[in-house]
Amino acid sequence: MTSPASAELATRERTTTLLGGEATDANLRRYLHGIPGIDAVGLEARAAGLGTRSIKTSSKRWAIDTIISLIDLTTLEGADTHGKVRSLVSKAVSPDPSSPDCPRVAAVCVYGDMVSVAVEALGAAHSARTPETPDAGIRVAAVATAFPSGRASLAVKLADVADAVSAGADEIDMVIDRGAFLSGRYGQVYDEIVAVKAACARADGADAHLKVILETGELNTYDNVRRASWLAILAGGDFIKTSTGKVAPAATLPVTLSMLEVVRDWHRLTGVKIGVKPAGGIRTSKDAIKYLVTVAETVGEEWLTPQLFRFGASSLLNDVLLQRQKMTTGHYSGPDYVTID
């Protein structure tokens, strides 16, 4: 295992090489603004085109189970309680009690103070976290860095992260400072992500995976989304994530497509695979299948694993389960035939 300090150094060195200088506002600006722009109409047309793929029979069956295995089952409410989190965990472990072959979700996603409750509730179902079996079990993801607004000092944000990591979080979903980004202080955004990444180091030597939330609804333009995606990846994010779910619009297909294109280009440039997580607003199987198609046709279907793609969602799971039951039994049941968490 590399030490956090040396990992941080490697990230900064890679950035310096790509930028031809330190990660200053000016150098980052030159780099990020040199990336080809996005034509919004064309991007949306391409996303709509991908959305017309017709996924039927065996392809649909595979898609349904894959979607379940890619879900970060989420509860992020002020009203969350231990009971609510335990209920969520039991849903994550056994999404459809009537169907033992139903896959488990990828992770549960909670606020930092609920991490220990989730870890305890998962028990043996919790991710084994060994490099040999990275996917064995369900992971615990925590939102951090003064989620959702990100309006706190860096010290508070880092403490937030360290707290969740020490409670046993496998993944940290951080928010970028959108204010800093929109006012052109790219260096600050970069430094914060690098610092949060360092704070993801765990006592057992493994790193909590870092998902960087861009909050695309506040960035407003696709060009901004593309630049923020590059920035987050440059700074060492393992995943780029669309939204907190607290701002509308949250995940949309065109936004996710534009982020997937960045991930594809980064892979071409460096050989490194970065994950993508659309979150918020994906509620139906039909919508989720469009995302699978978009992933497969943009970056390739090897991205359709929990290491590289997630859905941040809560109500999506039950719609997928209804579809799954329908494919098994041949008829639609109703909302009373899936459990509320």
């Binding site: 080809p36 722009g37 996005i38 064309g42 391409r46 017309t52 017709s54 898609a63 699978l292 497969a296």
Partner: protein
């Protein structure tokens, strides 16, 4: 596309059902409101994806053409020219609504007969065809504002010959403005794609359109020739190859018939180094692989700035590898079948010549079906402006890639073609788009998009791509003459038309009866 059988991208078949098609085993000519047998030898129309027969189609000989034109003349004199614009508009609205109601059926028939993917016929051809009727329905009672002065007159009988690449859409482009302007029509669909025109004839019966206002006659080139040369026709509208267009122009010259031609093209798609690259790649793809490249305004010449050539080609190849070639009726097919054996032969010939001339040929690894007519999406790099694949219209899924260094060179190369139908410009810089567009000699120029059509937007070519405009107010003007007033230019034109016809009759090319009819029409 070759994916392993376990691959998600190897999407399970999703065929559109043909169950709602209610086709007859054979179709007659649609003349004077009814189907009737033709006097020529019937021919079969096949599905280019399977080579299986769909139906037998009647063939019109000269006598049938004469009957059809006479029916159109009668309908013009007795009904259509006397009807108010708002009443004509009601019929057009009715036709448009019926096309929407039967959209699915029309889409399936179109894909079956033409070979184009069902997603294209479903999402582009049929909705646009209906939109054309809706658009011109609105014009029918507003002809005073069509740009030819107050109280303009219809021309009379319009002879229309359309191609096989967008069968129903080209029919709509021709018939909708003609009827809105008060003309009656004899239309000949292409020999390989008559099916949707015949379903359209059923729609006209459903709409209760007065008999003879629209007549649809099927047949080969000779039928079309007889139609455009018929002496009692006042207007000829043709979409198709430049070679045939030239023949028509020659035969129509001096007859007083008004003529619009929409012919071939070799569109330049210009990609500057500041282009939105992912969208440009999509635009290149849809520019040349949309409808198997059977598009007169296809962006078949890619002009890419030298500094980004390699990157664009890399990305283009990666994107082409995701194109799905196959069953036109499968909802996931991107590229369907080539329309005919003849067209496939031409595409193969020109592609082979491209290789012989030294251009580098590339196609993605894709399995083509056994039966039917297929050609894998293909790009040629290292193409010079002197190569035939850079000059001749291939009319297939074949892209020639050329490079340029400066905007001036891009403009010069883009214009260096006998054609001038379409062009595309890809750049993030608005001022450059406007400056370059201003200097391109092409009828349609798209900026950061390609192959977009709208009934309100005129379409047509420069140079050998034809003359006249279709679509919008300009498309309407092609079917109207200014009201004749003493001393006006229109009157002078009418007189010279009469003189032309008088001369023709002395040469015994046209009958006296026809000359009289034309005289009436040009009044």
């Amino acid at each position: 596309m070759s994916f392993s059988s376990t691959s998600f991208l190897n999407y399970a078949p999703a065929p559109e059902s043909t169950a709602l098609l209610n086709l007859k085993p054979d179709y007659g000519l649609f003349i004077n409101g009814d189907f009737q047998p033709g006097n020529g030898t019937p021919f079969q129309t096949i599905s280019p994806a399977t080579e299986k027969q769909i139906a037998m189609i009647a063939s019109a000989n000269e006598a049938d053409v004469d009957t059809a034109v006479a029916a159109a003349r009668r309908a013009y004199d007795r009904t259509w020219s006397r009807m108010s614009g708002s009443d004509r508009g009601k019929y057009l609205f009715r036709i448009a609504r019926l096309m929407q109601e039967r959209a699915r059926e029309l889409a399936v028939a179109e894909s079956l007969d033409n070979g184009k993917p069902i997603t294209e016929s479903r999402d582009v051809d049929i909705p646009l065809a209906a939109a054309w009727f809706f658009y011109y329905a609105g014009w029918a009672d507003k002809l005073d504002y069509a740009g030819v002065g107050p109280n303009p007159a219809a021309l009379g009988v319009a002879a229309q010959v359309i191609p096989w690449n967008f069968p129903l859409l080209m029919l709509a482009w021709k018939i909708a403005p003609a009827l809105a302007a008060g003309n009656t029509v004899v239309l000949k669909p292409a020999e390989t794609t008559p099916l949707t025109a015949l379903l359209f004839a059923e729609i006209l019966q459903q709409a209760d359109l007065p008999a003879g206002v629209v007549n649809i006659i099927t047949g080969a080139g000779s039928t079309g020739q007889a139609l455009v040369n018929h002496p009692d026709v006042n207007k000829v509208a043709f979409t198709g190859s430049t070679a045939v267009g030239r023949m028509i122009a020659r035969s129509v010259a001096g007859t007083g018939k008004k003529l619009t031609l929409e012919l071939g093209g070799k569109g330049a798609n210009i990609v500057f180094d500041d282009a939105p690259i992912d969208q440009a790649i999509e635009g290149i793809i849809s520019g040349v692989f949309f409808n198997q490249g059977h598009v007169c305004c296809a962006g078949s010449r890619l002009l890419v700035q030298e500094s980004i050539h390699d990157e664009v080609i890399d990305r283009l190849k990666a994107r082409m590898s995701t194109l799905r070639v196959g069953d036109p009726l499968d909802k996931n097919t991107d590229v369907g079948a080539i329309n005919s054996a003849e067209q496939l032969q031409r595409i193969r010939e020109l592609s082979d010549i491209g290789e012989q001339e030294g251009a580098e040929r590339w196609s993605p690894d894709c399995a083509l079906p056994q039966n039917g007519f297929w050609f894998a999406p293909t790009i040629f790099t290292n193409v010079s402006t002197s190569h035939r694949i850079a000059r001749d219209e291939v009319f297939g899924p074949v892209l020639s890639v050329l490079t340029f260094r400066t905007p001036a060179e891009a403009i010069a190369k883009a214009n260096n073609t006998p054609y001038g139908l379409s062009a595309g410009i890809w750049s993030d810089k608005g001022s450059r788009i406007l400056a370059v567009a201003d200097k391109l000699r092409a009828g349609v120029i798209w900026a950061n998009t390609f192959n977009k059509f709208d009934p309100a937007s005129p379409f047509g070519g420069y140079k050998e791509s034809g003359y006249g405009r279709e679509g919008g107010r300009h498309g309407l003007a092609a079917y109207l003459a200014p009201a004749a007033r003493p001393g006006s230019r229109a009157r002078t034109a009418a007189i010279s038309a009469k003189a032309g016809s008088a001369k023709a009759s002395t040469e015994k090319v046209s009958t006296e009866k026809a000359a009289a009819a034309r005289k009436k029409a040009t009044k």
